[in-house]
Amino acid sequence: MSYRVQVRVMPRGGLLDPQGQAVEHALSALGFPDASAVRVGRAIELEVAAESRREAEARVRQMCDKLLANPVTEDYLLEVGES
């Protein structure tokens, strides 16, 4: 089976997120003062070959721990779908 996995890697809460701040500023200047708490991170999308959804998820978790996210500064979230 092949699974399509969506990963979101976000700056850890509490860390300064200058990109998020800049976007929030820009949104407000553009007439969207109703947007707040903006944070910007990375979205990664990949196919993974696995026997089961659980295995796919476990596999991508390993990838995140090893490479896709920096444990010092980032948190990640997965969503596994069929592909």
Partner: protein, 771 residues
């Protein structure tokens, strides 16, 4: 469609399965007119296949064929003892001391940047780097010349920010220092920004390689990135077939990958210096088509390519798409067959593929197969050479003449004091630090003078000598008087080079104009080129290549004619380089050159009077030449502490810039100068803000002044001993006609260094508005 000529069929080719038949409408879509199509029929003796039509349309496009500009470009001086390679190759090459040579070239990426500023600018830098390393030269500097609409419009801010980021990210990643550039803002560029990138590379003259295919049976290899459906003639094609297959919008934007470029750079130089290959050319505009056809034509041979062998990014690409793709970071290499494995080993070390895709033939035919089926077969030399050449009508536009003879309305109060502050606050004159701080200017550890002064200077590693590099064009002068404006662009470039102590060697040019089929545009083009040619002859700086970019039109009309001049100069001893800022209290300030007070086309009239007009001061080529020689000679004897040319904003701005110092000193210097006795009968405002050429503000240690004055006399250059450099953080005091003008240097610095950042606080806002 049938052919009216009864000529015999020259070659045979079959349509690729599924390909549309070639109809009148399809021919028009390919931007080929009747004369051109007639010539294609005659040259083939039959109707072309769609693939062939695509090939013709690419090679006979303005960009590849120079069909409107060739006769004019042929009037440029291109010879000289220093010329190793003139126009016609990927880059020009000039000789340096000790077996070294410099390869350099400038190229525009205006239209891609108007659509997608970041990627457009980034891929523009990528392309020009490849043009230089494909000659066997290692890129050692990049420069950029940019034009945008005014910064009070959000769309212009968005384009400016995106372009600067794109230029920076690409060059920074590859590791080439940006040593200079220019940025200008004027309403005419609003719908059509200009993005010109220049690259300068160093090579041993013996390593020079030319992009000519030789040796029947030699292999063609595709090296580097895979081929995708990028940039397949976005503008000219609205192919039904393509839009049926694609979901929403077709990906036409080329995305740059500077990391792959860096690997390609290292691999290419290794292939060239190890002698493993016969020829190499980058796949730039019109991709595989132009690179293979041009290499074959230069070598007087034929080529046969199998598009089925080209590594692609997506499945199911047609020969048409593969031939016309403008995917970035690819090279076409010609090599002897027994070298292929070794070449692949070198490329693999740099994590790149190298796939054989064809070979050199002896029949002179440009032949394309796709897994056996011949889909294109065209006589190669005629494909490259036979595009009809046009001699468009040229007539000066009414309004240009009217603007030149117009006189400005004097504002109610002329505030000579406040004018300097206004000028330094104009984004056109203000410090471009906001731009060049985004560019790595010190990587390669050879930067002697970075951006922020006149020309940039780098040391040639392992030698005592250096190169000075600059790009310049005052588009306002060209718009008002194309001939004098063309001369002025070359003169300013040469002056910038000379200010560092270097001797101008040669130029490359990027000719940005509107639609050449409009007589008033072609007039600008022809006259500007005549000016460039005359100036280059006077300075012994031959034209070694360049680029023509026509059809730069916004809804409001053609852009200002902007022939950007990229120049390199030789600094015999790097240790003699002259910075542009004052550095030592007590030094004497000397003005070199004569002031007549020309205000036509000046920044003063533009920014203070809100008037663009008048007749620009004529360029005195002999005076410029004398001044250049004087500067080189004075620098070589160590007589100069600083030299800065007076251009936009005149003497007042030049003096202020020299006094303010660079952005990183704690403070500038005060300066006192008496301009009273300097220019008899010239009104104060014209002394302060007039823009005559051939003038430089210098400072010298008191002990060197006599020698400098007598040297200037020997060169026939007028000198005015104007005053002295004062203490740190002092004031700029200019005395003339019994009046004293005083500006605090700290206050001027704040204006000058914050003018652009103040306007760019929210650069990325409002991408769409105001488009």
């Amino acid at each position: 469609m049938t052919s009216s000529t009864a000529a015999a069929v020259v070659t045979a080719a079959s349509p690729f399965p599924g390909e549309r038949p070639v109809t009148d409408a399809v021919v028009r879509e390919h931007n080929l007119n009747e004369v051109e199509y007639g010539r294609i029929l005659e040259l083939l003796g039959r109707t072309p296949t769609l693939t062939e039509l695509g090939v013709f349309s690419a090679l006979w496009s303005e960009h590849c064929s120079y069909k409107h500009s060739k006769p004019v470009l042929q009037t440029f001086p291109t010879a000289g003892p220093q010329v190793v390679q003139g126009p016609g190759e990927n880059a020009g090459v000039l000789r340096l001391p000790d077996g070294w040579a410099v390869a350099f070239k400038i190229e525009s990426h205006n239209h891609p940047s108007a659509v997608e500023p970041y990627q457009g600018a980034a891929t523009g830098v990528g392309g020009i780097l490849r043009d230089v390393f494909t000659m066997g030269a290692r890129p050692v500097a990049v420069l950029n010349s940019l034009r945008f609409g005014p910064l009070d419009q959000p769309r212009n801010r968005y384009l400016f920010a995106g372009v600067v980021r794109g230029v920076g990210d690409y060059g920074n990643c590859v590791g080439i220092p940006t040593l200079g550039g220019e940025v200008g803002f004027a309403p005419g560029y609003t719908g059509n920004p200009l993005v010109n990138a220049m690259c300068v590379g160093l090579l041993r003259e013996s390593d020079l390689i030319r992009a000519a295919a030789h040796g029947v049976g030699n292999v063609l290899l595709c090296v580097g990135a895979r081929t995708g459906r990028d940039g397949i003639h976005g503008a000219s094609f609205a192919s039904e077939e393509l839009s049926e297959r694609s979901e929403a919008r077709r990906p036409q934007v080329q995305v740059g990958d500077p990391f792959t470029e860096k690997l390609l750079l290292e691999a290419s130089l290794e292939l060239i210096t190890s002698g493993l290959i016969v020829a190499i050319q980058d796949m730039g505009a019109a991709g595989l088509t132009s690179s293979s056809a041009e290499m074959a034509a230069r070598g007087g041979v034929g080529v046969e390519i199998d598009t089925g062998l080209v590594p692609t990014r997506e499945a199911g690409m047609t020969p048409y798409e593969i031939l016309l793709s403008e995917s970035q970071e690819r090279m076409l290499v010609v090599a002897e067959p027994y070298r292929v494995e070794e070449i692949q080993r070198v490329c693999a070390k740099w994590e790149l593929g190298a796939e054989p895709i064809g070979h050199v033939t002896d029949d002179g035919i440009f032949r394309v197969r796709h897994h056996g089926l011949v889909v294109a077969a065209i006589p190669g030399q005629r494909l490259v050479d036979d595009c009809p050449i046009y001699q468009p009508a040229a007539r000066e536009g009414e309004d240009a003449r009217a603007r030149r003879t117009a006189k400005p309305q004097r504002p109610a109060r002329t505030d000579l004091q406040g004018a300097l502050e206004l000028l330094l606050d104009s984004p056109n004159l203000a410090s471009k630090r906001w731009v060049y701080e985004q560019y790595d200017s010190t990587v390669q550890a050879s930067t002697v003078l970075g951006p922020g002064g006149d020309a940039g200077v780098l040391q040639v590693p392992g030698t005592a000598f250096g190169l000075a590099v600059t790009v310049d064009c005052n588009n306002r002068l060209v718009a008002l008087d194309p001939y004098e404006g063309g001369k002025a662009a070359v003169a300013e470039a040469a002056r910038n080079i000379a200010c560092t102590g270097a001797v101008p060697l040669g130029i490359t040019d990027c000719l940005n104009f509107g639609n050449p089929e409009k007589p008033e545009v072609f007039f600008q083009f022809r006259e500007a080129c005549r000016g460039i040619a005359d100036a280059c002859r006077a300075f012994d700086t031959p034209v070694t290549g360049g680029n023509v970019s026509f059809y730069n039109e916004s809804p409001a009309g053609a852009v200002d004619p902007t022939p950007t001049i990229g120049m390199v100069g030789l600094l015999a001893r790097v240790a003699d380089r002259v910075p542009s800022h004052f550095s030592t209290p007590g030094d004497e300030i000397l003005l070199l050159g004569a002031t007549r007070g020309g205000l036509g086309g000046s920044a003063y009239w533009t920014e203070v009077f809100d008037f663009i007009g008048g007749s620009p001061a004529p360029v005195d080529l002999a005076a410029e030449r004398s001044l250049q020689r004087l500067l080189a000679s004075a620098a070589g004897r160590g007589l100069l502490r600083s030299a800065h040319d007076a251009s936009e904003g005149g003497l007042a701005v030049a003096l202020a810039e020299a006094a303010m110092g660079d952005a990183y000193v704690e403070s500038g210097f005060g300066a006192v100068a008496d301009l009273g006795a300097y220019a008899d009968g010239v009104p104060a405002e014209a002394i302060l803000y007039g823009e005559d050429g051939a003038r430089v503000v210098t400072s010298a240690a008191p002990s060197n002044v006599d020698a400098l004055v007598s040297l200037a006399g020997e060169h026939g250059v007028p000198v005015h001993r104007a005053g002295r450099v004062g203490e740190r953080g002092g004031a700029l005091e200019l005395r003339l006609g019994g009046r004293l003008f005083t500006w605090s240097i700290g206050a001027l610095r704040r204006i000058y260094y914050t003018a652009i950042p103040r306007r760019m606080r929210h650069p990325d806002v409002d991408r769409s508005a105001g488009a």
